[in-house]
Symmetry: D2
Subunit: 262 residues, 4 copies
């Protein structure tokens, strides 16, 4: 049988290098390291890219999926660099990028009754590798309650509150549990939220939120202050999006601290 020619492997003469080429929006089951139970199984959306020098016509798309299939083992912040290296080797590339986004579950106890339920958080691992370095960023989207200080102060009773998404993206110089990042954010919210609350719990979170009003500005500042105090974190961004209960749009704030490399 005549071999089928590999067109993607042909030389290219346009002299334009490509920053990122690969596959996007592919789903794959994964196992993620988990502080309480060792690991958990979930499903991730992947984007996997490499650079392409100006003199190559195309990359080999099927090899990305092969890398994914090989990684039917646990993927953690610790093992993520190995996946990036494998992709780089397999694609014969100089730089690479993998983003993997998945729901992550934490078994939480309600504040008063102690009744347990799962809370889901959107987590992303974002890795960039080249011949010199490999940098991993971790992003967690933490749903919380925010309660408006202005509404509380000017109103004789009540205060508007709502669900908010506080997103923290960090680059660290040593290992941090997802649970640590999530706990750090939840500690600064008007109230953390839960999958399951009994009446005494609902009383508690209502009063707690009323006692801890936060503007969207306060939320990102207070989380930023915690991240500033954490020596393992090199750089970060913190965002809060409040799905305002008195408007049909969101309030939003962002603080970024980009450190020079260590």
């Amino acid at each position: 049988m005549t071999p089928i020619e590999d067109i993607q492997g042909r030389p290219d003469t346009r002299r334009i290098a490509i920053d990122k080429v690969g596959i996007k929006d592919i789903l794959h089951p994964i196992r993620v390291k988990d502080k309480s139970s060792g690991e958990q199984r979930t499903v991730a959306h992947f984007a996997m890219y490499v650079n392409l020098p100006h003199d190559f016509k195309g990359t080999h798309m099927s090899r990305f999926v092969e890398v994914l299939n090989n990684h039917d083992r646990e993927i953690s912040i610790a093992s993520f660099p190995a996946m990036l290296q494998e992709m780089l080797a397999k694609l014969e590339a100089e730089s690479g990028y993998i983003e993997m986004r998945f729901p992550y579950f934490i078994d939480k106890a309600a504040p008063i009754s102690g009744v347990r339920s799962l809370m889901d958080y959107q987590v992303s691992f974002i890795g960039e590798i080249d011949t010199r370095s490999c940098r991993i960023k971790v992003k967690v989207v933490v749903p919380v309650t925010s309660l408006c200080p202005c509404s509380k102060e000017i109103s004789e009773r009540g205060a508007h509150n709502q669900r908010s998404h506080v997103s923290v993206t960090v680059e660290a110089k040593s290992f941090i549990w997802l649970e640590e990042l999530i706990t750090l954010v939840e500690a600064e919210a008007s109230s953390q939220i839960y999958g399951l609350l009994k009446r005494p719990d609902e009383k508690y979170v209502t009063e707690y939120a009323y006692d801890h009003p936060k503007f969207v500005e306060d939320m990102v500042r207070d989380v930023a202050a915690r991240l500033n105090a954490e020596p393992r974190i090199i750089s970060y961004s913190v965002e809060s999006e409040n799905f305002e209960s008195i408007h049909n749009h969101s309030a939003y704030a962002l603080i970024q601290r980009v450190n020079s490399p260590f």
Copy 2:
């Protein structure tokens, strides 16, 4: 030039009729009748389908787009049937269906300051036609504040509240303004919401919501009671989805009243 054969027009022998065939997710600018200013311009997502008898191989997809292009005029609840009839005639079909979904803007005055701003509502016109009848349903998604009665009663201060979407779908026997449906829903919410609120307005909506706590069950019941009292309405469904501020999931309720045809 030899004419290009019309394959879709060939006979079909599988003896299976098709309930709906057509185009989906096409965007088109429209003009909609507006109670205050005559008409407003917005952009709609359309789905347009006809039936296909068992002995026809295919429909003529391009004719749906022609119907759309012809309707570069105002589309209102009143003129919508004409669009359905035109589609039926052009496609030589026995039954047809058009769904058109668009953001609709109302210029609202804030409750105390009177300052004006636009609020957007998702509106759908859903029309079904056959050789005997033409039925139009109108759906409005009304964003409101809901405040939890349980949280209020059991807590010494505050009460959790959140943005909710109350969706009302009605079939009417005579003309109803979109503004009437929206006002009807907003009157039953813990509080209506606005694009722009000054501090005295924020105080007002906070206290108003605190004084009008509603479970998701109350919301759909109280809107249903209003719809029951409206003689122009033949059938309806009312849904409320509360994007709970103390959970990462929604509370949801639905009441449907399907009347026999008039």
Copy 3:
């Protein structure tokens, strides 16, 4: 300690029953029965509702989450009714509804090289229960290639093709594997699709699709014919949405066969 009053349990005097009330858009990890490997772990979005008679003020939202937490075991088409019954009992309701939507993975072999990769399919289990009966519907969304017969016939070379989603929803009177439904749909596509294809595979699927052109109408009819021939299936709907490569909108077709109950 004085017990906190249960407001939701109070009587209601509006005399309006609620068709569905419960929770929506809650994520939960699940295990699903799998033809090849026994079971697979994935993540599902749940909606869980019960009816509420006119004389009850509210339902008990936290109990839905308790049902979910109890079901940390395998959920399959066979065990799904037990989950519905448990919800009905726990909520003291007369009728109930659960919808559970999740990505489901099948390890497929490429057609020529035999190389294996995972394909993901969106699957839903939809269950309705009342005091007399429990009905389960299963929906699978199968991504396939569709190739246009008209484009092929009128063009001297090539034919436009695209990704399509063929969705089949069935109610069966005896057990059907998800794999059976998916295979049935894939057999009627212009071509089935894969996570990973080598060059000989790509040649094969390209030529196979060119040799099996199908209009959106053909797709739903040919799948309907197969479903008609399957004695286990009581009722079904089959939809195809073709994300047209020559337009910025979809072509769509639907066939429904609603049988009388067995």
Copy 4:
């Protein structure tokens, strides 16, 4: 009446400045300059942010909506800086950011029949302003057909093709019509796409695409080459996402050229 205190205006002592604070996901009708007909009316999603120095507690969210309400006039690439300046002044901020995303319609003639129909494109204006400069970027998402060169070459008949989104984001030193950017992209696609095609048009686009196969790598390189040759463009990124018809994931490529400021 005692005035209600302005809490957001209080001093803040945490010494953490906020990069961006404002409102997100607010809808507003707009008028956009249009090459053929002067202007068109559409609906935009806005994000509007300013910086907040470390010594201010909060920004004034309602003022963002006021800026939006004032801009009930035409917004074009030319008038967009004025909107940024107005926001900066009104919010008493040092830097600001507005992103405005909207569907934009072009009335296109089919290639053979000349029949006219509207095509929709997602367009964004992204503006950043500070006390020294105002920079505007324009992004257009252009849906096109891509046809795989490998599939064509290795197959005896046919070639897989699909809808792709080619996104171009540019910063220019002098005025460029949206229509120019869109035309530039469409010229490099395997084929451009249309709202409405008659059979002779369908034959034409099918054969044209078959005669112009492009990998995702070719697409971004050929568009980049055009952008490189355009002296008005200072910096750009070009992305292509191909919604592969033979896979359930996308192929993706990106080229960025960030020029030094002029």
